[in-house]
Subunit: 273 residues, 2 copies
């Protein structure tokens, strides 16, 4: 497999550069990309240091490195551009057309890249994280009145990370309730959930994958046996169907995909700008 | 303030379209952007529905909507392009130059946008989330041997969300230890932390901001008084200085910024591809 050096360069967190850069790279399956991120490159000196590093990487590998950047400052951009790399600047490419369309100069200011720093937004996310922690794994069901969402599923189907991601990213208050073998013996929603039918979303998973995840936690147990995993998943799926609860199979999905699927399917409104 | 309608359109989660789109919009302070996200637009029918919605928004507001999209499929892109909006396509804009540089056609496949779905990556992130939960708020300090990082700070300085973000995003095992008034009376690191000096990172915060956060939680208490907040922050900062512990003031930072600052300053290697 061919190898190629990739740099993500940003004057702030590099989250945007990594996000779009990685999306683009996944479209090219036959190359092994060696990724390096250089964050907080916010002075010409730092830009020179990164440019030198990129230049060396190009010399050593014999092919031009690929740079994905979100450098706002034109001087720093031109320093990095002289490193001999193929440069994709995600801000500079679009900002001119946006200025034209909006009839306004951009502020060209570093440090506003996410706009998530104002305190009301911070508070909403923190409250949502606290809510997710307080209601994790079926705890404190009396708080379900305040929930935007209650995620249900068998143990290890991905409930906790999904709820934490929704809280951190969208400020959504997501509780999660584990379906235990006791719940699964009957085709009725657990009592705690009864009054909140419209907020419930189900996670399901391939039994073989569930077995692998549970085996990491408790090898050679009933809990992680294929038979038990098959039974629990089958019963949970029947429970969802029987009660008209929307659900998604998490088997091949990332946490981001599970979370945005729920937001999409339930039409959740979230609290962040 | 002028208003402008903005649409984020994606055939998958829209995380990339929102991320870069919002970064660009923050450069324009004098416009109030009204944002709508349309995810999972993966058929021509859905693309037509979104295009109609965009067209109506333009008719009603009297100015062209702005569309940030990551639609991979050329047909769907052209359907949306005919809505009369100003379209910025974050994939199409770069993919041609990348194909040329790599000497390879892109797969043009929907659903690979993050590449975070393989099970080893999933496992690493889940283990890191479980680790963060098990070691939250000073719990289970015997697990500090397995930590990549231990975040310390006074109550409500942002430790828990930072650790959860690091776990979910990077698969970093981050524990957090709260500095209590007992710890702060002496200028010595708490015993549990002694052997892990190189893994410790401090969070600090403006006392006025801390007071506001604590007041939401426990109004009119000693805990939330300005005097107590000032005392705790001053002592925590002195403790960091005295022990050579790097730290950052979280007052005006988003969780993303706090987390990537720590990764950057400690030079943490993380476990995800």
């Amino acid at each position: 497999m061919r190898e190629r050096q990739v740099f993500f360069v940003s004057d702030r967190t590099a989250i945007t550069a990594e996000g779009l850069g990685n999306s683009l790279l996944t479209q090219f399956g036959e190359v092994a990309f060696n990724r390096i991120t250089r964050r907080f490159i916010d002075t010409p000196e730092k830009a020179h240091t990164v440019a030198d590093e990129i230049r060396r990487a190009g010399d050593q590998s014999g092919s031009r490195p690929i740079v994905f950047s979100t450098l706002i400052d034109a001087d720093m951009r031109s320093i990095v551009a002289k490193s001999g790399a193929v440069c994709f600047d995600f801000v500079d490419t679009f900002i001119g057309r946006l200025e034209e369309e909006l009839g306004q100069q951009s502020s060209h200011s570093i440090g506003k890249t996410h706009g998530l720093t104002d305190s009301s937004t911070y508070n909403l996310r923190m409250e949502a994280v606290n809510f997710a922690l307080a209601t994790d794994d079926g705890l404190t069901s009396r708080m379900y009145d305040q929930a935007d969402l209650i995620v249900v599923g068998v143990s290890r189907s991905g409930k906790t990370p999904t709820c934490l991601y929704l809280a951190l990213t969208f400020g959504i208050r997501a509780a999660n309730y584990p379906l235990t073998p006791d719940d699964l013996g009957v085709m009725r929603l657990p009592m705690e959930l009864g009054a909140h039918h419209h907020k419930i979303y189900g996670l399901t998973i391939d039994p073989g994958r569930l077995r692998a995840i549970r085996t990491e936690r408790r090898p050679n147990s009933d809990y992680s046996s294929l038979q038990q995993c098959q039974y629990e998943v089958r019963q949970a799926e029947a429970l969802f169907r029987h009660n008209g609860i929307p659900s998604v199979a998490t088997t091949t999905m990332s946490v981001e995909e599970i979370a945005t699927t729920i937001v999409h399917e339930l039409g959740l409104q979230w609290h962040l700008p």
